[in-house]
C-alpha cells in the first residue's frame, strides 16, 4: 500500500545498474529477480490489487459461519452442506481470519506499504530541504495560469505577491532581461499526514499481534449467591483461550465474588437492564493481605477493570437445586447450573444434575445407583401447544422444571470428561442409564422413584457468566488508531500545490504571469488559484491565458 491519494505519478522503473546483462552470473540474476520482485511488490498497482484481495478475502468471513464466533453455526453448515463443508474447511473458510492466505495478503500489503512509503518519505524530506523548483519557462502550459499587464512597477508587484504568499515556502530568482520570478510551494504537511497514517497502520497491526501473543480470554460461570472466582490458574475457568505466549501461569491474580444478579425486563420479556453486584480484591489487595472487598457493579457496557484485566458479564442463567433422599434416609443436594437453550431470551434451560449414592463403594454397585435429574427448566413456566414446557418470561416468576430422572451408570467412572450440562448419550443407548421417573415440578414438589428414593425441587439460584479478558496490546492499538485518523485527516485535507509568479518589466509598468500546479489531486486547487490570481492581478485587466 503505497502512499495514498496523492502520490505524484510513480517514476518509470529504470534499471540503473551498470552491469551489462550478458555478464550477469547466477548471483546477478538472482539479485535482479529480487530487485524486480521488490519493485513490483512496492508499486501502487500491486498495492491496489492487494487491497482488493484483502477486501475479497475478508468477505467469506462475514458470509460463512466462523468457528471463532459461533461453532454451532459451523455444525449447522456441516449438516446442511455435507459435501461442501469439508472443502470449505480445507480452504480455511471457517477460520478466515486465522487462515494462512489471509495472513499472506495483509503481510504482503504491509511490506508493500513499507517499501512504498519509506522511500517516498525520504524523497519528500529531501524535497522539503531544497528551495522550491524554478519557474517553468512557459507558464501558460500549466493547468492553472493567468497573465495580465499592469501599470505597477515590478518591485511593487513582487512585494504584493510576497504578501499574498505569506505562509508559503518560496524562493525568488532572476532571469535575463530583468525578469524576476517567485516559486512558492505549500502543503508539505500532507506528506507528513500520509506517512503518519501508513505507519500507524503498521502500529495497529503490531498491537494486534502483541495482543494475540500475550493476551488471553476465559469464561467462567459463577453462582450469584456469594460464590467467588479467582484468576489464579486456567483450572478455574470453564473455557480458556490463551495467546501463543501464554502458558496459564502468571495470570494477573485477582478475585471476584458475585453477590447478586439483577435483571429488569419489559412486560414483553425484552431485557431492560442487566447487572451483577460483585465485590473484588485486586492483585495488590491480595499481595498486601487486605481482606476487605471492593464493591462494584458489572453491567452490560460496564466491565470491571482491575490489574489490566477486564471482567465482563456476558450471560446469565439458572441453577435449579434438587435434593435426592434415598430410602435409607441419606440425602444429597446439588445446584449445578443449567444452560439456556433458547435464543429468544426466554431463558428456557436444559441441564443434568448428577448424584452418587453415598456410602456405595463397590464399582459394580456404583454403576447401577447413580442418578441424574435431567430435563427442561423454565423461569416462568407455561404449557406450550403440544403440552411441552415453555418459558414465557426470563425472570423467576413461576419456576417450573420438567424433569426426567435417570438411574444407572452415568459414565463418570470411565475416566472420560463429560459435559456438566448433559448425560452420556452412549449410556442411554446401551441401556445402562434409563429413565425411572418423569414429572413436571414446581418449587417444593417431590417426585418418587420406584425404589422409594425421592427427588425434591428445592429452589433456584441465578448464575452469571463472567468473561475475563487480558489484552496488553489494546491500548497500543487505540493509540495507533487515533494517530491514524489524525494522519488521515491531515493528508486528505491538505493539498500540495505550487505557485509561480513571473514579472517582466515593461515600458509603463510590468507584465505579470502566474502559473499553478497541484502536486496532488487536482480537485480543489482551482478556486484557490483563481483567488490568488484575482488578488494579484486585481487592479489590472485580467487576461486569461
Amino acid at each position: 500500500m503505497s502512499s495514498p491519494p496523492t502520490a505524484p505519478p510513480q517514476p518509470p522503473v529504470t534499471t540503473p545498474d551498470g552491469e551489462p546483462p550478458h555478464r550477469r552470473g547466477p548471483l546477478g540474476t538472482a539479485l535482479a529477480f529480487l530487485r524486480n520482485t521488490w519493485r513490483g511488490l512496492t508499486s501502487m498497482r500491486t498495492a491496489l490489487v492487494l487491497l482488493f484481495l484483502l477486501a475479497l478475502a475478508a468477505l467469506p468471513g462475514a458470509l460463512l459461519p466462523q468457528r471463532s464466533l459461533n461453532a454451532f453455526l459451523v455444525d449447522d453448515f456441516y449438516a446442511d452442506h455435507p459435501t461442501a463443508a469439508p472443502i470449505v474447511e480445507v480452504l480455511g473458510g471457517f477460520e478466515v481470519f486465522a487462515s494462512p492466505w489471509f495472513a499472506a495478503i495483509y503481510l504482503l500489503l504491509m511490506i508493500s506499504l513499507v517499501g512504498c512509503v519509506l522511500p517516498r518519505s525520504l524523497e519528500y524530506w529531501r524535497g522539503m530541504r531544497q528551495p522550491p523548483v524554478a519557474t517553468p519557462r512557459n507558464l501558460a502550459r500549466l493547468p492553472h495560469h493567468a497573465a495580465a499587464d499592469t501599470t505597477e512597477e515590478p518591485d511593487a508587484a513582487l512585494a504584493r505577491a510576497r504578501g499574498l504568499l505569506r505562509g508559503w515556502r518560496r524562493t525568488e530568482r532572476s532571469e535575463p532581461g530583468g525578469v524576476r520570478t517567485i516559486s512558492a510551494e505549500k502543503g508539505f504537511l500532507r506528506e507528513t499526514g500520509n506517512l503518519v497514517f501508513h505507519l500507524s497502520l503498521i502500529g495497529i497491526l503490531l498491537g494486534l499481534a502483541g495482543g494475540k501473543m500475550y493476551g488471553y480470554e476465559g469464561d467462567v460461570i459463577v453462582r450469584a449467591d456469594g460464590s467467588e472466582f479467582c484468576n489464579s490458574s486456567i483450572l478455574g475457568y470453564d473455557t480458556f483461550r490463551a495467546g501463543l505466549r501464554v502458558d496459564g501461569t502468571n495470570l494477573n491474580e485477582f478475585c471476584v465474588r458475585v453477590d447478586r444478579f439483577a435483571g429488569t425486563w419489559l412486560p414483553n420479556g425484552q431485557p431492560a437492564t442487566f447487572g451483577a453486584d460483585v465485590a473484588y480484591q485486586s492483585g495488590a489487595d491480595l499481595r498486601s493481605g487486605v481482606t476487605s472487598w471492593r464493591p462494584e457493579r458489572i453491567a452490560v457496557n460496564h466491565p470491571l477493570r482491575t490489574d489490566g484485566d477486564r471482567v465482563y458479564l456476558t450471560g446469565y442463567g439458572y441453577a435449579p437445586e434438587f435434593t435426592v433422599t434415598w430410602p435409607d434416609g441419606q440425602s444429597r443436594s446439588s445446584d449445578i447450573q443449567w444452560r439456556p437453550v433458547d435464543t429468544s431470551g426466554s431463558q428456557l434451560s436444559e441441564g443434568a444434575t448428577k448424584f452418587e449414592r453415598p456410602g456405595v463403594e463397590d464399582p459394580e454397585q456404583r454403576r447401577t445407583t447413580q442418578i441424574a435429574v435431567t430435563g427442561t427448566f423454565a423461569p416462568t413456566g407455561a404449557i406450550g401447544p403440544d403440552g411441552e414446557l415453555v418459558s414465557v418470561h426470563p425472570d423467576l416468576r413461576a419456576p417450573t422444571a420438567d424433569v426426567n430422572v435417570m438411574l444407572g451408570d452415568l459414565g463418570i467412572d470411565d475416566g472420560r470428561g463429560q459435559s456438566i450440562f448433559t448425560v452420556d448419550q452412549q449410556k442411554i443407548d446401551s441401556g445402562e442409564l434409563r429413565t425411572v421417573a418423569e414429572d413436571r415440578m414446581g418449587i417444593g414438589d417431590t417426585v418418587r422413584l420406584p425404589d422409594g428414593t425421592t427427588v425434591r425441587f428445592d429452589g433456584v439460584t441465578p448464575w452469571v457468566n463472567l468473561q475475563v479478558g487480558h489484552d496488553p496490546g489494546q491500548l497500543w492499538v487505540l493509540g495507533a488508531a487515533i494517530v491514524m485518523v489524525g494522519g488521515l485527516a491531515l493528508s486528505l485535507s491538505i493539498k500540495r500545490r505550487r505557485f509561480w509568479v513571473r514579472v517582466h518589466p515593461s515600458g509603463d509598468g510590468s507584465r505579470i504571469e502566474l502559473g499553478g500546479l497541484a502536486r496532488t489531486d487536482r480537485a480543489g486547487y482551482g478556486e484557490e488559484f483563481d483567488r490568488l490570481a484575482d488578488d494579484l492581478l486585481a487592479p489590472t485587466d485580467k487576461k486569461d491565458g
Binding site: T6, L48, N70, E217, N301, L492
Partner: protein
C-alpha cells in the same frame, strides 16, 4: 413511562410527511431534468454569443442558467427558464423535507427517552436525512450540480420507502447493550458517514454513464464528467475519515460491551471491507490508468458494500449487531 405514545405518533406523522414532500421534490427535480434539454435546444441558436463562457467544466446543465445579463431591463425579477423554476421548487421542497425529517427523528428520541438511532428503522431514516442534507449543502456550494438532484433523490426515496414499510419499528426502549453513550458517538458518526457516502456513490455511477455516454439519453443532460468525478472525490475525502472514526469508536464500544475491540463479527468484517474499498479508491485516484473509470467503479462498489452491510448483514446473517435489526 417507557414510551410517550402521542409524541411517537407525531414522529411517525412527520416521517410520512417527509416521504410525501420528498416525493414532490422528486417530481420537481425530474421536471427540472426533463426540461433542461428544452432549454438547451432553445439556446442553441445564439450559442455563439456565450461561447467564451464555456470553460473546461462547462456542462450541459450550465446552459440551463438564465441568460440574466442578456435580458437586462426585462423586469425587476430576472427571467428564469422553466427548468430553473422547477429546480428551485425542488430544492425548497428538499429543505422542507429535511426540516420535517429532523423533527420526526427528534420526536422519536423524545418519545422513547433515548438517542433515536436504536434500530434499523431509525438508522436508515437518519441515513436518508444525512444524504439529503449533504446534497443540499453541496448544491448551495456548487449550484451547477442541482439538476442531478433527481439521481440522489431516487435512492433516498427508495430507502425511505423501505424504512417506512419493511423496517418500520414501533417506538420502544432498546436492549441493554445499546444503552451507552457510545451509541451517540458511534452510530451517529457511522450514519453521517454512510449518508454522505451515498452522494459519491451516485456521482460515480453518473460519472460512468456520462463517460461512456450510455445510456445516451441519460448522459446528455448530466453534469460534466469532471464535475461528477470531483464531487465524488471531495465528498469521499470528507466522509472517509469520518467513517474511519466511526469504526474506531465502534471498536472502543465493543471493547466495553462485548469484551473485545475487534472480533470479526460480520458487521465489523463488512465495515472493514468497505473501508478497504474506499482506501483503494483513494489510491486508485493517484495511480495512472486507474484514475477515472476504475476509481469510479471502486467508489460505487464501496457504497454498495455499505448498503449490503446495512441490509443483508443485519437481516440475513446472524451477528452481534443483529439486535439493531428489524
Amino acid at each position: 413511562m417507557l414510551v410517550d405514545p402521542i409524541t411517537s405518533m407525531w414522529s411517525d406523522r412527520l416521517f410520512q410527511g417527509t416521504l410525501v414532500v420528498l416525493l414532490l421534490a422528486m417530481v420537481f427535480t425530474s421536471l427540472e431534468y426533463a426540461a433542461a434539454r428544452v432549454a438547451r435546444v432553445a439556446r442553441k441558436e445564439p450559442a455563439t454569443v456565450g461561447a467564451g463562457a464555456e470553460d473546461t467544466t462547462g456542462t450541459a446543465v450550465e446552459v440551463t442558467e438564465p441568460p440574466a445579463d442578456a435580458s437586462d431591463g426585462a423586469g425587476d425579477r430576472p427571467t428564469r427558464t422553466r427548468s430553473d423554476r422547477y429546480g428551485r421548487i425542488g430544492v425548497s421542497l428538499m429543505i422542507l423535507a429535511v426540516l420535517l425529517h429532523a423533527g420526526s427523528i427528534v420526536l422519536r428520541g423524545l418519545a422513547t427517552y433515548r438517542w433515536p438511532l436504536g434500530n434499523m428503522y431509525e438508522f436508515t431514516s437518519a441515513l436518508c436525512l444525512m444524504a439529503v442534507g449533504a446534497w443540499l449543502v453541496l448544491v448551495r456550494k456548487h449550484p451547477t450540480l442541482r439538476p442531478a438532484g433527481v439521481f440522489v433523490l431516487t435512492p433516498v426515496l427508495l430507502l425511505m420507502f423501505l424504512t417506512g414499510t419493511v423496517l418500520y419499528a414501533e417506538a420502544a426502549p432498546v436492549v441493554p447493550a445499546l444503552q451507552s453513550y457510545w451509541i451517540i458517538i458511534h452510530v451517529t458518526t457511522i450514519t453521517l458517514a454512510s449518508g454522505m457516502m451515498l452522494v459519491p456513490g451516485v456521482a460515480s455511477l453518473l460519472f460512468l454513464i456520462k463517460r461512456n455516454e450510455r445510456p445516451a439519453a441519460l448522459a446528455a443532460k448530466l453534469p460534466g464528467a469532471e464535475v461528477l468525478d470531483r464531487l465524488a472525490y471531495r465528498v469521499t475525502v470528507f466522509a472517509f475519515p469520518l467513517y474511519t472514526f466511526g469504526i474506531i469508536t465502534g471498536a472502543v464500544w465493543a471493547e466495553a460491551a462485548w469484551g473485545r475491540f475487534w472480533g470479526w463479527d460480520p458487521k465489523e468484517t463488512v465495515a472493514f471491507v468497505a473501508w478497504v474499498l474506499y482506501a483503494a479508491y483513494l489510491h486508485a485516484r493517484a495511480t495512472a490508468g486507474w484514475r477515472s473509470s476504475r476509481a469510479a467503479w471502486i467508489n460505487s462498489a464501496g457504497f454498495a458494500t455499505i448498503v449490503f452491510n446495512l441490509f443483508f448483514i443485519n437481516m440475513v446473517v446472524a451477528g452481534l449487531h443483529s439486535y439493531a435489526g428489524v
